[in-house]
């Protein structure tokens, strides 16, 4: 049986991270109201989580999941990759392609990781904790080969379904070290339906990105 203080701390840790992943919140007060927590202790908790880099803030001051939980997640998925190296890659590909770009863990389902919102009128918005199933059902083992590949994805309904398909053009960055749950860390450009008419351009950018990632830095 867990001690009550430990359970409460872990639950609060989880709930706050999940809340800032789903909603725009800036203050401890907003968190306290949404999670029905005491304001004073929530203030201390948020401050401490920021100090520990478990929470971060974006340019408008909204709270985000910090670098340590991101690293924890990569470790849990078996990817031996520094979390701090992923966001610059996503942002660069977004700036090169003008599309929604995401990191994804690809196994039986595809789980979206670090997300950059595309900036052009064709962008796709990916919801928090979004997972997809493979609409064209390729065996996951085929996704581990090197090189650029294309996939059609369908939203897993329990996380909210926009009713459309998503086309992904992606590249493997790393493979999971977990033998029990093999997975691939992929980075890709996603579009809401439609073909990649500029596939050669995107493929070049993906290969370039892989070279940056593999360089010693």
């Amino acid at each position: 049986m867990s001690a009550a203080w430990a359970t409460e701390a872990v639950t609060r840790f989880r709930d706050i991270l999940a809340l800032v992943s789903r909603e725009q919140v800036r203050t401890a007060y907003e968190i306290a109201v949404r999670l029905k927590l005491p304001v004073s202790s929530t203030y201390l908790t948020v401050t401490e989580l920021e100090r520990l880099s478990c929470l971060a803030r974006d340019e408008s001051g909204y709270l985000l999941v910090g670098i340590r939980p991101q690293q924890m997640a990569l470790d849990a998925l078996g990817f031996q990759v520094a979390a701090q190296r992923l966001a610059p890659l996503v942002r660069h590909l977004r700036d090169q392609s003008g599309e929604t770009v995401f990191m994804a863990s690809m196994a039986e389902i595809l789980t979206v990781g670090t997300v950059a919102m595309g900036f052009n009128p064709g962008h796709l918005v990916v919801q928090s904790f979004q997972t997809y199933r493979y609409a064209t059902a390729p065996p996951p083992s085929e996704l581990t080969r090197p090189g650029v590949f294309e996939l059609t994805l369908a939203t897993n309904a329990q996380y909210g379904d926009h009713g459309g398909l998503v086309n992904l053009m992606a590249l493997q960055l790393a493979r999971s070290s977990s033998s029990a749950h093999p997975a691939t860390l992929a980075v890709g450009v996603a579009r809401p339906e439609g073909d990649f008419r500029d596939a050669a351009h995107i493929a070049r950018k993906l290969l370039e990105l892989k070279a940056f990632f593999d360089s010693p830095g």
Partner: protein
């Protein structure tokens, strides 16, 4: 409040090829006594953050993997089908235009170990600010101070010094703060190319005082632990590209830059000139430096207009001087809808004027929130956590509605960005600054 530090330490103990750890090793690594450690581990197992793959062994669980999701920006609430998940058009291969960034900066993937700088709190932090001469600089400093105020339990003192753009004064201030035993220095350099200032910065590093750069660099990023910035190249490149494309590749342009001796100004101008140089029918009438002051921007444009110079567009590397230019045009009698297109963001008044006077505008909001970001990087350094050599804040491109071009699309339209409820000098993208840190008795920004 120790619980959260212990949770973070426990969950950060895996990785680097160690997917499973014995309970005793895990607790020892995390520095947690066994009695409390068992309770915390049990609670983490109950919530799925940890799992027991074998007797006496622990591994990260499915709840830990869930936080793989980590957006670069907080997600706006869904609801508008035209924005959220909806399909609009996107350019085909022929209409793609130019990308936002031309080059990759390898510093972005370079990580720095800071274990040698690890200290026990409370910390004394020095903030050597180049100047507070513009609303942007005030907002950047305020965002840093707001972040420091939130962490007052571990920061006993923040010494703030304003060099008033004088590198010699900044050298003295660095020596003064070193004498007052600062643990870390956050530096926004008063000059980008100043050998004595660079020697002073390197001197701090040699004495074991880590330096975190913010906004303005002196020397190279390698002279500091980390440099917190946003892409000045992107600011210069995209604003120039928008102006060129908006003008159809032909016209006379006035360039209004910031400070000649500041790295952001130099980088933005260089990037803009590279774009303009690709278009032979674009004539740069003059390149002027405004020190990012509205009054100087105003005076320069007023002088050119009085001389009878005609411009098809005005490139400003910031809205700080851009508002001065817009005022000069309105005072010269330009009617609504006739003021030439401008670039330059950040300042609320820029967006207000663009709306009132129907001016085609492209603003790239250079985030003053990098002040808070530099403070977080400072804390990470003093706690001995790995930090990136270069931290880049996200940039947002803001364009007046109906004025997007083939290559330059809006992240947000100016009409959505403008804050009618906020003061003229309000600086966008300045992070979370509670009203308690806003000084009373504001002076109007533009006179």
């Amino acid at each position: 409040m120790q619980s959260f530090e212990r949770i973070a330490n426990l969950l950060s103990s895996f990785g680097e090829g160690q997917a499973e750890l014995p309970l005793a090793t895990l607790l020892a690594r995390s520095g947690i006594p066994q009695s409390t450690g068992y309770k915390l581990v049990n609670a983490l197992v109950d919530e799925g953050f940890l799992q027991r793959p074998a007797r006496g062994m622990l591994a990260l669980g499915p709840a830990a993997a869930a936080f793989f999701f980590a957006p670069l920006r907080a997600l706006a609430p869904a609801g508008d089908p035209s924005i959220s998940g909806g399909v609009r058009h996107y350019p085909d291969a022929s209409g793609r235009g130019m990308p936002r960034m031309a080059q990759w900066n390898p510093n972005l993937l370079d990580l720095v170990s800071t274990t040698r700088f690890r200290r026990e709190p409370p910390f004394v932090i020095g903030f050597a600010n180049a100047s507070s001469s513009s609303p942007w600089r005030v907002a950047m400093a305020r965002s840093l101070m707001a972040a420091a105020q939130r962490q007052r339990d571990v920061v006993s003192r923040v010494m703030v010094r304003d060099a008033r753009d004088d590198p010699r004064r900044q050298i003295e201030q660095l020596a003064e703060m070193r004498a007052e035993r600062m643990d870390l220095c956050i530096l926004s350099a008063a000059a980008s190319d100043h050998p004595e200032l660079l020697a002073a910065v390197r001197g701090l590093g040699a004495e074991g005082i880590p330096v975190i750069g913010v906004d303005r660099l002196c020397g190279e990023p390698e002279d500091m632990v980390s440099f917190v910035t946003a892409s000045d190249v992107l600011v210069g490149r995209m604003s120039a590209l928008w102006l060129v494309e908006y003008l159809g590749g032909r016209g006379r342009i006035l360039m209004l830059c910031g400070r000649e001796d500041a790295s952001p100004c130099r980088l933005r101008l260089q990037a803009a000139m590279e774009i303009l140089g690709l278009h032979p029918d674009i004539e740069v009438v003059a390149i002027e430096f405004t020190n990012w002051e509205a009054s100087l921007g105003h005076a320069i444009v007023q002088r050119h207009l009085a001389e009878g110079t005609k411009f098809d567009g005005v490139w400003c590397d910031s809205g700080l001087q851009g508002v001065g230019s817009l005022r000069a045009f309105t005072e010269a009698g330009y009617k609504r809808g006739t003021i030439p297109p401008h670039t330059g963001g950040e300042v609320n008044l820029m967006y207000k004027l663009a709306f009132h006077h129907k001016i085609p505008l492209c603003g790239v909001d250079y985030p003053a929130a990098m002040g808070a970001l530099s403070f977080q990087t400072a804390l990470d350094t003093l706690f001995g956590r790995q930090v990136p050599r270069r931290v880049e804040a996200n940039l947002e491109i803001v364009i007046s509605r109906g004025h997007e071009t083939a290559s330059v699309k809006a992240d947000l339209f100016a009409e959505e960005k403008v804050r009618w409820d906020r003061e003229d000098e309000y600086v966008h993208a300045s992070g979370w600054i509670p009203s308690s840190t806003t000084p009373n008795g504001r002076k109007p920004f533009f006179v």
